[in-house]
C-alpha cells in the first residue's frame, strides 16, 4: 500500500480559470538549477515563453524574445540570478529588467529595457505560469511525486475523455493486470485518476498544458515513494495511452465510451 495523496481539503474545485488562469509548464524536477527551457501555451494570444531557474532556485518566465534583437531567450544560459542571451549577452534579472550589456559594461542599462514577464510559481512540484492571476493555482496540496511530462498530439478535451476510460498498472513489470481507474477529482487545469484494488491504491494527478492547437502536454504526478518498477510501468502506461490517443480516428464528437480498443 502506497502513501495516499492528501486530497482531503475539498478536492479540486471547478473554478473559472479562463485566460486569467494558471498553466502548468514543467515538473519542478525537470527544471534543475540553471535550467532554461521553452514553453508554448495555446491561448487566445499564443504564448512562446522562456522559463528558467536561477542559481538560488528562483523560477521566472519571460516572453521568449530578447528585447535587443529578438533572439530566443530559451537559447540563453543562467549566470547566477540572471538569464543571459546567447546572442550579445544582455542579462536580465528575475523581474525581467536588463541588468548588464556587455558592449557597454560600465553603463547601467536604462529601466525601459526589459523582457516581458509572466507570473511564475512553483507549487507542489509543478511550475505554473499566469498572465495575471494573483492567487496560487487553486489545487489541493497533493504531495505527489513527478512521474514525467508527455506531449500528445491531441486536444485536451479528447484526452480528458480518454483518461476517464483508461486502466492503469498497479504493480511493476506486469505482475498484475492493469486495473480500471476513475477520475475522482477534476478542474480546469488538472484531474486525479484513481485505481484501487484490495492490494493497492494508486493515484495519478495529471495537469494539462495546451501547447499549440491539437497538441497537449500532460504533466503527471503519482503517489509519493512508488517503487522503481512501478514507476517504469506507469511511464510505459503513459506511452500506451499516448498511442491510443494519437491513433484514435474519429472520436472528437462521436466518441464511443465503450470502444474496447481504448484500453491499453
Amino acid at each position: 500500500m502506497y502513501g495516499l495523496l492528501k486530497l482531503m481539503n475539498a478536492g479540486l474545485t471547478e473554478n473559472d480559470q479562463g485566460s486569467d488562469g494558471w498553466v502548468p509548464v514543467v515538473l519542478s524536477a525537470d527544471l534543475p538549477v540553471a535550467g532554461v527551457m521553452r514553453a508554448q501555451i495555446d491561448a487566445t494570444q499564443p504564448l512562446d515563453l522562456v522559463v528558467w531557474r536561477s542559481r538560488s532556485g528562483q523560477v521566472s518566465a519571460f516572453d521568449n524574445r530578447c528585447p535587443h534583437r529578438g533572439m530566443r531567450l530559451s537559447f540563453g544560459f543562467v549566470r547566477g540570478e540572471r538569464l543571459s542571451c546567447i546572442y550579445h549577452g544582455w542579462q536580465y534579472g528575475e523581474d525581467g529588467a536588463c541588468r548588464h550589456i556587455p558592449a557597454h559594461p560600465d553603463m547601467t542599462p536604462p529601466a525601459s529595457i526589459g523582457a516581458n514577464t509572466y507570473l511564475c510559481r512553483e507549487y507542489d512540484g509543478v511550475i505554473w505560469i499566469s498572465q495575471n492571476a494573483d492567487n496560487p493555482p487553486d489545487l489541493p496540496t497533493f504531495g505527489g511525486q513527478g512521474l514525467r511530462s508527455l506531449s500528445v498530439n491531441r486536444d485536451e478535451a479528447d484526452l480528458r475523455k480518454l483518461l476517464a476510460e483508461t486502466c492503469i498498472p498497479l504493480s511493476g513489470a506486469g505482475e498484475t493486470a492493469p486495473a480500471e481507474a476513475s477520475i475522482i477529482a477534476e478542474n480546469q487545469t488538472s484531474l486525479v485518476l484513481e485505481s484501487t484494488t484490495e492490494a493497492a491504491s494508486l493515484q495519478l494527478m495529471i495537469h494539462f498544458q495546451k501547447v499549440t492547437p491539437g497538441k497537449t502536454m500532460l504533466h503527471i504526478q503519482t503517489n509519493p515513494d512508488l517503487p522503481v518498477d512501478l514507476r517504469i510501468s506507469l511511464s510505459r502506461w503513459a506511452e500506451r495511452f499516448r498511442w491510443s490517443a494519437e491513433n484514435m480516428g474519429t472520436m472528437v464528437n462521436s466518441w464511443d465510451a465503450s470502444a474496447g480498443e481504448m484500453r491499453p
Partner: protein, 218 residues
Amino acid sequence: MGLQLYDYILSGSAYKARLLMALLGVDYQPVAIDFHPGGEHKKPDFLAINPAGTLPVLVDGDLTLCDSQAILAYLAQKFDPTDTWFPTRDPGVTGRILQWLAFAGRLTDTAGAARLHDMLGRPLNIEKARTNAHMVLRELEAHLTEQGFRGDNFLTGSNPTIADIACFPYTALSPDGGIDHDDYPAIRKWLVAIRRLPGFIEMPGIHRLHDMRDEADA
C-alpha cells in the same frame, strides 16, 4: 604516423570522434574536407578512401574506418585503459551499447537529415524528416525517463559510454533542423550531463555549459 581524422567542423558524425578523443585525451591529426560547398567527400580522391562518401574517416596505420560508430568502438578499445567507455565483459551491456550505436544511425538519418536541409539546403521531405525525428526522440525520451527512475544518468548505466557519445550530437543539434527539445525533459537533462563531462569540447551549435567556462571568456 599517428591517427588521422578526415573531418569537417560542422559534421555531427565527425564530432563524435573528436569528442571521444578529447574525453580520452588522444591526439590526432585532422584532415579538413571541404564538405560544403566543395562536396569534396563525393569526389574520387576521397571516395578512394571511403567509397560511401561520408565523414568521418579514421586512419590508423593500415587501418581505415569509415563509420563513426565503428570509430568510437575502436578508439575506446584502444585508448581507454579503464574499460568504461566500451565495456565488453558483460554480454548484456555490450548488446545494449551496440543497440544504441545502431540507434545513433537513425538519429543521423532523421534529425541529421533535417539539419542538412535547413542549414545547407539539401532537398528533402522536411516535414517527414521532422516527424520521424520526433518519433526517434520519443524513444530516447522514454528510455532516459526510465534510466532516471533507476538513478542512472546515461543510456546504459551510471557512467557514460560510446553509446552516449554516438547519440549525443544529432540529438543536441536537432533544433538546427527545426526539431525542438521542448517536449523532452529527460533528453534535456541527459544533454546537460554529457556537456558536464570533464574534457568536453564544443562544436558549432553545441556549447559548453556556462559554469564550465572560464569567467574570462564569458
